[in-house]
Symmetry: none
Subunit: 477 residues, 2 copies
């Protein structure tokens, strides 16, 4: 049977490594066309890995045409020796392999990107029933009928003015922020906006991120080859002394609701942060306000931007959480001196969001649909959380558990009493069909790690399956 050593795998995912090994063997003709592959279960047993891992590897090989499946028989190696294709002779254009049923293909690749779990406490795809399809479809129709001319006019670099006005009104009503449309920059996702911020504040600046924190942020700074330091948190958010010592110029924080600890930075620390920023002209604070809409208890925390009188805060937010992450629209609010710099140095960039979606979203905001949608979703998430907590509390007698930060919205922390390591915990949960992450995974400085605290993101969880999901999760401990 196929035998692969996983010793050289490095940080690659198991299924990805396995997929590459098999693909290489097919390319090198070690595995011959029409040769039968072992069943998923048999290969899993043989290699001492989970069946899901093999399934993911096979799915990817299928998607790419390296293997094919015969129902009720198994998987076979494709014949990839077909002729090379030569340029300009159109007679030999073979029909492409990329005309399979689109749905199938996409599902297969989706599996590669995120393996299919019974319950997913990490990713937050929006359930189709939770996206306002009817209203959105209606507004797209309206936009295409009424805005024909505007749709063809190049958007200003900052974004369509109508959308920026709608965003400003929204921020005023829901975040108490008094800003002007001329300060708003619309972009295709916060990750893109981080890149713009680096170009705006300078590649020579040193950027500080939260530790623990959302790891992608540091990856983006590093991919852009700017200096990036990880600053530890205390109970009130980012530690000011450590920040000061780090000699960072720019600090990237989530004061309204830190991910994943849930810490809300109190007003005192906010003022300390603003004071820190005032000490040098180069210093700035990036306030990442990614899910402030979903605080489930009490009044929303005012944005740090709204108490900044010194033009030191760049406010950044997204419609990924409030609408869906698959429409790529985010925005930032720049202090006036920075927007001047943007207009001078970066406004040659075309706006990255399609006019069609900018106008549609503008209408969605203008008519108050987002407010209605968010209220509906808050109720939905509260219900999901309550059912989840109820099911977890049922096990309180068997297991020592502790629930933290359950009101901040969209995720909470679950401390469990177990002897197995966090790594094993996550792996065993995956084998049980549960995707879950541990707080420890979000730390850069491994010496500060607290073990056995699960991060339970419930935004993508279907209430119907919660009972079984919790069962499967608790089997792990």
């Amino acid at each position: 049977m196929l035998t692969y050593s996983f010793d050289d795998r490095g940080t690659e995912a198991l299924y990805e490594y396995l997929y590459r090994q098999i693909k290489d063997d097919i390319s090198n003709n070690k595995l011959k066309p029409k040769e039968k592959l072992p069943s998923k279960r048999a290969l899993a047993k043989h290699l001492d890995i989970s069946t899901i891992t093999v399934e993911n590897a096979y799915s990817q090989l299928m998607a790419e045409g390296y293997i094919y499946s015969v129902p009720r028989s198994g998987f076979y190696v494709s014949d990839i020796s077909a002729d090379d294709y030569k340029f300009s002779d159109t007679s030999q254009y073979k029909p492409r392999t990329y005309k399979k049923d689109a749905k199938d293909n996409n599902n297969q690749e989706t599996i590669l990107d995120s393996p299919k779990y019974f319950m997913d406490f990490v990713n937050n795809n929006t359930a189709p029933d939770n996206f306002p399809f009817t209203r959105w479809a209606k507004l797209i129709r309206e936009t295409m009928a009424e805005e024909r001319d505007n749709l063809m006019i190049k958007s200003p670099s900052l974004g369509v003015y109508q959308l920026r006005c709608a965003i400003v009104n929204y921020l005023y009503q829901f975040r108490g922020m008094d800003v002007e449309p001329e300060q708003v920059v619309v972009g295709a996702g916060t990750e893109y906006l981080y890149g713009l911020i680096i170009q705006l504040l300078g590649h020579e600046s040193k950027y500080a991120v939260e530790d623990p924190g959302y790891q992608k942020i540091a990856r983006i700074y590093k991919a852009n080859k700017v200096k990036c330091v990880h600053i530890p948190l205390d109970n009130e958010g980012i530690n000011i002394d450590a920040l000061e010592e780090s000699a960072a110029d720019v600090v990237h924080i989530t004061p309204s609701h830190h991910f994943p600890t849930g810490i809300v930075t109190p007003i005192s620390r906010r003022h300390e942060l603003l004071t820190w920023a005032l000490k040098s002209e180069k210093r700035y604070i990036i306030e990442d306000d990614y899910d402030s809409e979903f605080r489930l208890l009490g009044k929303p925390i005012p944005a740090l931007q709204s108490i900044d009188m010194s033009n030191k805060v760049i406010y950044i937010n997204t419609f990924s959480k409030s609408l869906t992450s698959t429409i790529r629209i985010s925005y930032m609010v720049l202090p006036k001196p920075l927007i001047e710099r943007y207009n001078k140095e970066l406004s040659f960039y075309a706006c990255t969001v399609s006019n069609f979606e900018q106008y549609t979203l503008a209408k969605f905001l203008e008519r108050g649909y987002l407010e209605i949608h968010i209220n509906r979703m808050r109720n939905y998430y509260r219900k999901t959380r309550d059912i989840l907590l109820e099911n977890i509390m049922k096990r309180k007698d068997d297991k020592k558990i502790n629930i933290m930060e359950e009101d901040a919205g969209l995720h909470f922390l679950l401390q469990v009493d177990t002897k197995i390591s966090d790594k094993q915990l996550v792996m065993r949960a995956a084998e049980n069909g549960i995707n879950v992450s541990c707080l420890s995974q979000y730390y850069y400085d491994r010496s500060n790690i607290k073990d056995h605290i699960l991060v339970i993101n419930y935004s993508g969880v279907d209430t119907e399956y919660i009972e079984e999901g919790v069962d499967r999760l608790f089997e792990v401990f």
Copy 2:
């Protein structure tokens, strides 16, 4: 005046203590709605604390809605007897000034970004009649009805698989390129993709651009703080000796149709370029194929990518020209070793294009609608060009003129005999309502400049007004 003792403050910060005292007085109705608060300076003096402390306290009270400010008057106590600052209570928010008629707003800012001309030979907004609104609207409807589940699933970093397949098929049929969907990266505009390329090939690499050339490309390299050199062209495209001398690692070229000179790089120079690239592992060629679809005479020039056997060419293209620039969808095809690097180092980035538009475009391509649309537009552009040339040729007797590169598509060069400088020429044309640019504006090295050559981009020109447009233009010389 407000008097507070700071004796009981404990370890609390001054401003925080002050903020709490005032807040309590407002809550207890000791301070009445609409009552005026002392000025920051007066209160500071009175309490013997710094103005900044009072400012911080007031800011926080403002942010939380306890007080409000009246410009040029001062701070007043809010009426909080109604509801607290509640998420869903919009009644107490004053209407923003940003609710003017949306169309007006947009026009205002559009005018700001690009003044309205009688005829525009520089920008290329798509005329609304030239966008396939009916088909696009139909496909959006279909997408929203049929792809509900897929629309909510996060797109792979490279883009939705279905769209990448459609692009690969399109490239195969129309550019003779044999690539795989796994090599395609979809992104929100070529400018965004340039940024990804820099992250992929390295910030320490030196990037070469064409001189003359499309100036934005150099601006993007410079905004990303990478070394960028300008290499002169000869009659066959970028000069290889100059490129070699420059010690550049990466060269960014438009071999199919250089903008603005219209030069098509012949096969011999293409092979020289590939040979240049082979000399070092770090060397790469970025082939920017931005308008190859619109060559009006003869068969399309094969892509450089299609004759590259050494994984040295990054192919980049966009739907801006073939569909509309206001839908932000571009893509690049990476050589396999680079796509591996992308998957390892950059696939943490979310795709920047909305799923809604990715699926819609995939269907548009799959059904051959783009081909139909391009054929229609080629006819339309040919007609526009012919009317334009006819109107220009009428003046041949009065003025010495020379037309060049009229078959490459979407723009040609018009050499005129005049005494005024290019700068004056552009200015006077603008005064006559004509937006036009000169070849000289696209040069970095001013010593190579050829004067009095106009770049006539006719993709956004309305045939009905051509006669008057040409009249207005010729009045300038």
